[in-house]
Subunit: 292 residues, 3 copies
């Protein structure tokens, strides 16, 4: 593993190795890297948790983080992604973590770039580090992925998380179902009612309504979305024993999920954030070690 671009490039073995290293880090093990590496985080879209989570992970495995202010960079002068990353490589960066608006922006970086590239989200494409922390959260809970019933709810067609997770979970043996309004199903076959899904789901994975990308919907107000597709207090009461709630956050309270459920017993929403640091330490370590 020389880069992390898309979940589709990862074998089950690679995924399970990263989860194992995440667990080792959570148990207090140190990094296996031979030296300190220089890393920069290039976030061309707003983010709190992903960027800060990577910063913390980098710090914890002994990397030096060289600040890069994407909102104020030469990209504003029309520089290509290739030239920006090549420049950072020549400055001495060993790895760059990138979030960008363009789907598969990393295709530009496959040739001629020698520093490691970690995709922290590409447009409406993939978000593999989020996917790996989600997998880690599920594995911690259930020990396995085999035959788990996992329901992904929301704007499937625009969600990086949905696409990354659906591919990976299926490959690992889980049974993935989708719930969303007709117009948001995209290429996927989706359910349109909670009735068939709420009772037997092991994991309910809510997606964020992305105000940035489009308004909730022409056909839905926030209130009517919550009523039809949100996880209400009534629906949570119908979930089976041991089932958990996940959300990549930031949460729109009372839209995707009722305000009072965000920190309820079933919710792993803030645990996911905590797990994210361990997953990202594992990602960075695996990639940097693979280049030693």
């Amino acid at each position: 593993m020389k880069n992390l671009l898309s979940m589709e490039h990862l074998t089950n073995e690679e995924i399970l190795h990263i989860l194992e290293r995440a667990r080792a880090f959570e148990n207090g093990e140190g990094s296996q890297l031979a030296r300190s590496y220089n890393v920069a985080n290039l976030f061309f879209e707003p983010s709190t948790r992903t960027k800060t989570s990577f910063e913390m992970a980098e710090h914890r495995i002994g990397c030096t983080v060289i600040p890069f202010d994407a909102g104020f960079s030469s990209a504003l002068k029309g520089e290509t992604m290739y030239d920006t990353v090549k420049t950072l490589e020549m400055i001495g960066l060993d790895a760059v973590v990138i979030r960008a608006k363009e789907d598969e922006y990393y295709n530009e970086l496959l040739e001629g770039i020698n520093c490691a590239v970690i995709n922290a989200g590409d447009g409406a494409g993939q978000h593999p580090s989020q996917s790996l922390l989600d997998l880690y959260t599920i594995q911690k809970e259930f020990g396995t992925f085999e035959n788990l019933k996992i329901t992904i709810v929301g704007d499937i067609s625009h969600s990086r998380v949905a696409k990354s997770n659906a591919a990976a979970l299926t490959k690992l043996g889980a049974n993935v179902r989708f719930l969303c309004p007709e117009e948001w199903a995209g290429q996927f076959e989706a359910h349109h009612s909670w009735d068939e899904l709420i009772h037997d789901s092991d994991v309910i994975m809510l997606l964020r309504i992305q105000h940035e990308r489009h308004s909730v919907s022409k056909s839905f107000s926030k209130e009517s979305y919550h009523e039809q597709y949100g996880l209400t207090v009534e629906r949570e009461a119908q979930m089976k024993d041991g089932a958990i709630i996940m959300h990549p956050a930031p949460v729109n309270r009372d839209v995707e999920i009722a305000d009072e459920l965000v920190e309820c017993e079933r919710s792993r929403i803030f645990q996911q954030v905590r797990n994210g640091v361990f997953a990202r330490m594992a990602i960075l370590e695996t990639i940097l070690k693979g280049r030693e």
Copy 2:
């Protein structure tokens, strides 16, 4: 002391402890913290000196500063302050330093948050770290607060500094007077002329005219403000021996104070900046130690 939210929450003993630790730091003493802590600075409003001062203080007491770009964060996606801070806590932050537009934003953070919260300015509310550095500056100069005549000049009603300082100084035994145009007195009883105040003030504490919050005044140009309420060269000449001039900065030269007085012998304006690093080291140490 688990957090620093408002000067009103501090006892005189807590204030004097912080000033004592600030003095120890200025004298070259090291931090008494048992380990390195992770800190983030969340500045949702522009600031040079406060943010940079905290960054330096954090560095000097051995903290790791995890960068957080408030102008580019999930707050833009409508995330609540609670969710932002809870997220940072789960990522592993031990303390967050926050400046925000909303008065008493920290009320949201009193329950459910386990990391330390340090208020670096809330709307038109309080600015306790500025207040503590002002107190430290006065204590260094006079050794005591008892019976000092302290004149605060400017937009009292909108000033975080005025409110924090007036409360604390009065509690510590000083005699605080206000000077401002009628419309800026707010809840306070104010003088409207320098005549009764210029000769016997030990400290003249000028406030910044806050262009960001409102124009100087409908009734005043910058020139006429300077003439009526500014510290002119003529007025400085009437100050008593040993009296000092303070200003939280940034200074509007020739508005609050004549350009040539900014670095005059009586001025402690840049000394305040220097003292601020020691005061903030003391604040951070006291709060983090109180949680060990």
Copy 3:
């Protein structure tokens, strides 16, 4: 050398000393500084490579970098450059690296400021650290500057790089020629055709068309600029053996230079970026050591 403001202030000895230290750093030598220094980078204009290059250089010579977000600072509140820098000095900064829109902004800082000032670009003025890395790149290639034929191409009159380099190279014995449209020659005497220059140039130094400062030209489209003044594949074929191509970047591909030449054998464009870190380590070390 207490500051680095403009190439015009440097003697040949000072320049050659910096190049020698850059080479030592490239060869793996460590810094000669007695302690760790605190440095801030104040970039009031967008930049990737210069800011990141300074950050890396500061890190490599053991400095502590205190973050400063110029786009979000008190300068927005109308603070003068003097007051901003004086404040940073009082906070404990030993050196500040500044890029600003105003020509010779540093004149304000010549009196009363005790921390070191390193000019990272002033308006349409100078860009001395870029110039020093260019000189280092040329020296590495040719061993000397004497009698080298160096052709600078582009918007001479608005280019910080052109001005800094022309002055320094001439002083060091090189023969500098300019090529540009009539309207961009400014105070310089320029050629208007490649014909007299392409065959005997040792160095072709292309300048960036600065979209930020003005549109390409009223009289030129990007295509016609490329045709008349750009380095095309045909022109590169006429360059003499051993001649090299330089560009301060970011490159406008197919405007100043044909896309396929950016990483051709003659090109030193990305090598310049790499050399920039060594040159900046040398600059910082020389200035901080000069103050010990």
